[in-house]
């Protein structure tokens, strides 16, 4: 996009994050707002902070994560501008590409708003260098606490495996896995490959695995070097979340399964034989 880049770090006890942000290459300034009101990234509070700081900026960007998607539209509406969701390319400072219809069409859109509020699809861009920068860190004392919202609790998935959207290898299971215990077969392969484990919606809905593992139009977008789909049919909503992977491998017993139309390597086989064999050969 061009221009100076400032980062906002809003949180509670977020000093280490602010320091890490200051050493990212290319950053001019880090604004660090530390308060209990920002501890859980409640959109009601953080949006007010962003709007207060927005003056003078032409672009406000957030990641296309659940946090970014919760926050950015609220910021945009308070600024009276539209928002651009999940951009995958910057054509010019006011023109961006974004997928619509579950990625079945790519729209190039030009925004006439004075401030562009944008969420960015992480897998579509290379990450900035984490070191090499020496930005100043500026403390911001503003506190915005919406009276009508409070954080109750969270249940976060704990895993030693890499995060789905950042992993270079992802192995996902679908309804064909049959049950949650069978995902252990995928976990074993994942541990050998340093991979993250994902799932189709059908596998999540059936209760095999938790919701944060869902890949697809309404789950997570992944684009690893290698994506292995096991017992997944390849519905358009699933493909929307993984078809930008470099190499796709599919294991499915139905040779007509649509997943084979996007797979670089397809194996028509029973997963209960193929997966253990794959694991033993790694």
């Amino acid at each position: 996009i061009g221009g100076d880049i400032d980062l906002l770090v809003a949180g509670e006890n977020a000093q280490p994050a602010a320091e890490a942000a200051a050493s990212i290459a290319g950053v001019r300034k880090v604004i660090h707002a530390d308060n209990a009101a920002y501890a859980h990234q409640l959109a009601e509070n953080v949006s007010k902070l962003v709007v207060e700081l927005a003056e003078g900026y032409t672009h406000i960007l957030a990641p296309g994560t659940t946090t970014g998607k919760n926050l950015a539209p609220r910021v945009a509406a308070l600024l009276g501008v539209n928002q651009l969701s999940d951009i995958i390319a910057v054509e010019a400072a006011d023109t961006f590409k974004r997928p619509i219809y579950a990625g079945n069409a790519i729209a190039t859109v030009k925004s006439a708003d004075a401030v562009k509020v944008i969420t960015v699809r992480g897998t579509a861009f290379d990450a900035a260098e984490a070191s090499g920068g020496s930005a100043t860190v500026e403390a911001c004392d503003s506190v915005h606490q919406h009276a009508d919202v409070s954080f109750v609790g969270e249940e976060l998935a704990k895993s030693d495996r890499p995060e789905l959207t950042a992993a270079s290898v992802v192995i996902s299971g679908g309804r064909g896995m049959g049950n949650g215990e069978n995902f252990d077969m995928l976990n074993k392969v994942a541990d050998k490959l340093g991979a993250a484990v994902g799932a189709s919606r059908a596998a999540v809905d059936a209760g095999f695995v938790p919701n944060d593992m869902q890949v697809g139009q309404t789950g997570k977008m992944v684009a690893p070097e290698l994506y292995i789909a096991v017992g997944i049919s390849g519905a358009i909503q699933h493909l929307a979340g993984m078809k930008d992977s470099k190499i796709i491998v599919a294991i499915n017993k139905d040779e007509e399964a649509p997943i084979f139309q996007v797979a670089d390597y397809g194996l028509v086989a029973d997963l209960f034989e193929a997966v253990p064999e794959l694991e033993s050969r790694l």
């Binding site: 919760n70 069409a105 919202v149 109750v152 976060l156 998935a157 938790p210 794959l278």
Partner: protein
């Protein structure tokens, strides 16, 4: 408690869309249209709140062309009480939709608005958040559980790392995620009954709001095609 559910008429989720060869848009001629799947879930949740005695009335609203009335009738057939159609032939952007909905909220005074988390055509995932911002209301987005109690609603949200629960004072905006519930089908007698339920229609132009577009679509293109690969014989 009165519940308002905005519903959008979109392409059926089973249809694989095609970009027009001149790049001017997406070919929607003779394509099957339906209610946005997330909005079906939102209606179901509202109807269940009514069946549980928590909600007093379920009002559905759709903004769009004449045919949007079809999705409103569907919503009435699964249990909504009353429908409002704001008619326009323009494609409104999320901020414009949120402005129209704010007006409906001012007229109807619901205590809870349940939107879908995203519409499966434009995939924006914005309208509910924008409406909450314009109203100054709290928001519970991507809900997998909605539990209202006196004056408040507890919302369990599907977030990237797992689940999060927030408590919102009413009035509030909630957006539905896929696992909130399993929507019912409309039975034939209920479809017949829905034809007699009240549906009020107004033109968006009458609202006197600025709904002009801020985004201009320069071009539409199909995604880069993937070549089908090879089938291998074995793992080895």
């Amino acid at each position: 408690m009165k519940v308002l559910v905005p519903v959008k008429r979109v392409i059926d989720y089973n249809v694989k869309v095609r970009v027009k060869s001149d790049g001017s848009g997406v070919d929607l001629n003779n394509v099957k249209m339906a209610i946005n799947p997330f909005d079906e879930i939102a209606i179901e949740e509202a109807v269940r709140l009514k069946e549980a005695g928590t909600a007093s009335e379920v009002v559905v609203v759709s903004i769009g062309p004449k045919q949007s009335q079809e999705v409103l009738r569907t919503a009435l057939a699964v249990g909504a009480d009353r429908a409002i159609h704001l008619e326009t032939d323009d494609e409104l952007e999320p901020l414009a939709v949120a402005k129209c909905l704010k007006q409906v909220v001012a007229d109807e005074q619901p205590e809870l608005v349940i939107c879908g988390k995203q519409a499966i055509d434009d995939d924006s995932n914005q309208t509910g958040q924008m409406l909450a911002a314009l109203l100054g209301w709290p928001q519970g987005t991507f809900a997998s559980e909605v539990a209202p109690e006196a004056g408040v609603v507890k919302v369990t949200r599907e977030i990237d790392g797992g689940l999060e629960t927030v408590q919102l004072n009413l009035p509030a905006v909630v957006t539905s995620d896929l696992r909130l519930n399993e929507p019912r089908y409309a039975s034939l007698p209920n479809i017949m009954k829905a034809k007699k339920k009240p549906l009020e229609a107004k033109a968006v132009a009458e609202l006197g709001l600025d709904v002009s577009p801020r985004l201009k679509a320069v071009n539409y293109a199909p995604p880069a095609a993937r070549q089908g690969g090879i089938k291998v014989e074995s793992v080895g």
